[in-house]
Symmetry: C2
Subunit: 378 residues, 2 copies
């Protein structure tokens, strides 16, 4: 049975990652708990709900953890209570001892907690995934791909497949990530070096947001493995399992226009701030739309709410080419799309007031594209 003395903060760091997978209320009571398994190699924590599971491992020779293992074993403990208790202990180190009947004693200084645990044998098993040939991808790149696409997934459960990001790896050569809610679309393409994997999966957007915050940029490579209906991300002692969405993702390549009649270039931050200003007016109105007027002499942005007032601003494009055009769109889609570019310069290409327009970075224009459907106005 577990008998362990270790650093409080190192324990909490791992528990707080694991706890992300643990619901505070669930129909399977043991799943409100965190599974702790101590071996001579270290301490494994497991948390799980219907959609995702997280395992974190702290090596016994981790310097900050300062683990003194007196006896090994396993126990399941209420995750939130355990987190609160360890967070409030008076000293830097604490001792955890499992006793008879799954009672757990936690001591630090003169504070003694005795709480009921659950038999580790009753904790459900995680899915088994073949990890022999994972796709390797730098954490930083994966986080970028996620932040550039995941905001475009549908929030509506009526089309469940669109609540995920479609990830395609073809012949280990290129990775393509696509998200669309049928009003806008985000697509990121990446060239992969020396990979052999082939994926065609749809990962829930909520899981990807999680992955983006669970893994730290400090880790270099992250391993991605796939089973029938599960994906597993592994890096730096953290294993993140997510179910996949079932069904066929609609074809999206044909949505991307191959020509344009009007193009404007902008510094992203400038444009984003102007769109935010215009949206202050559009948000007051019934249809949340702003209007862009492109002429050879300049670009004007308008926001209007008949009840409240109006906004207009002469923008400062870096380049204008092609035909004159007036187009209306949802400024919130535009703001989110622009924020995915960071500090870059972008080209926006238009075909007509009723056809989707695209936003691409000036550099490496094929790697990243955002598409927004305009709103027809009378």
């Amino acid at each position: 049975m577990i008998s362990l003395t270790m650093n409080r903060q190192a324990f909490l760091n791992n528990l707080r990652i694991t706890i992300r997978a643990i619901a505070s209320k669930t129909t399977i009571p043991i799943l409100t708990g965190v599974k702790l398994v101590l071996t001579n190699d270290g301490l494994m924590m497991t948390g799980s709900n219907v959609d995702i599971s997280i395992e974190t491992f702290l090596k016994s020779d981790d310097e900050k953890a300062n683990m003194r293992i007196h006896s090994t074993g396993g126990i399941v403990m209420d995750a939130r209570l355990l987190n609160n208790i360890v967070a409030q202990l008076p000293q830097e180190d604490f001792t955890m001892e499992v006793m008879e009947n799954h009672q757990v004693q936690i001591t630090s200084g003169k504070a003694i907690f005795t709480v009921k645990g659950l038999d580790v044998e009753n904790y459900p098993r995680l899915p088994e995934i073949d990890e022999t040939t994972p796709l390797k991808i730098p954490v930083e790149i994966l986080k970028q791909i996620i932040s550039q696409t995941v905001f475009s997934v549908s929030k509506q459960e009526s089309k469940p497949i669109l609540t995920g990001v479609h990830v395609l790896v073809e012949n280990g050569q290129t990775l393509k990530a696509v998200a669309t809610d049928s009003h806008r679309m985000s697509q990121r393409v990446l060239t992969l070096p020396n990979e052999t994997a082939n994926f065609d999966i749809v990962i829930p957007g909520s899981s990807l947001k999680d992955v983006g915050s669970v893994f730290s940029d400090e880790e270099d490579d992250l391993d991605v493995s796939i089973a029938d209906n599960q994906v597993l991300f592994v890096a730096g002692g953290i294993r993140y399992y997510s179910r996949l969405l079932e069904g066929n993702y609609p074809p999206t390549d044909r949505l991307i226009p191959t020509s344009y009649s009007t193009a404007v270039e902008f510094e992203v931050r400038d444009l984003q701030k102007a769109i935010t200003r215009a949206s202050l007016m559009s948000h007051e109105g019934h249809n949340n739309i702003v209007r862009l007027e492109i002429t050879s002499s300049g670009v004007k942005l308008f926001g209007n709410s008949p009840e409240v007032g109006r906004f207009d601003e002469d923008l400062a494009p870096e380049k204008i080419s092609g035909e004159e055009l007036t187009i209306s769109f949802n400024p919130d889609y535009m703001k989110e799309a622009l924020s995915a570019f960071g500090d870059a310069h972008v080209e926006i290409q238009f075909i007509s007031p009723v056809r989707p327009f695209t936003i691409r970075p000036l550099e490496d224009a094929d790697s990243f594209i955002q598409l927004i459907t305009p709103v027809r106005t009378a």
Copy 2:
């Protein structure tokens, strides 16, 4: 009609204080607005709801405000929209111009907002309060009095008078502030130099919390004036009006015990942390109580939840005197009471397990007292 160019941030600083008094939804539409009155002396902003009103004044010669007054006048504008607009403007300065039909144009750089305002004549008048002989009190002291008492006001509207803090100024000699929810009581007493005021008022706890955050420690003295059913706090260009609670506050002096049989001294922070730990267990149980056992050899703290587990800790009192005693109480009351003492050392005095006990600072013991009613256990 108003025509003004000024610093955006200085405008926002005052607007964000004024807006605290402005409800986003109200049955009197004009009260969702902020009243702006520009004279050659400066800019007055007014916000008001049923319970409180705030006026802020920015002097025309304020250096940071950098005001250029082209024309004076008044207007009422939707406070939240105005705040959002000015916050998003592109340049450091902005211009506000009132035009025909209460239209207001706000410009900065190339951004132009035109929004509908309301006639300033339709804004309700604030109560008139005689300010000729205010009570003067340092802002820092007032904030301390508030933070030491206001947490004990009742949250239950069934006894409305107990939702306020009773403030008594007798013969301008002493100020006494008392709050109680009938389970615990906080009382702060202060000697006043050279005052002539006489108050016996009950100020809503919610208003006092506001006052604590609206006024800045940078100001020295704050003036307090009273009218029939209003109190007015004035300092540093800010005027805060609150209605008073009507009715008789129950007598509280007789609740304070005059003797004790057991006393213990503690360093506040240490005791507070131990109480927090014990409350992790008591919060899991049905009756949120912890138990203190005082013997000549030491003080032990217990927390217990039959379902979840138990806690115990040998505390480190600085002094124990009198009879042995075991007493149970709500740890949340104790935590809040202790937090009002800051870094001090306190003496806790007990009479019996069923009589209220008191907490006082070791220094200046008569100035501040917290009283907590214990919970009888079987």
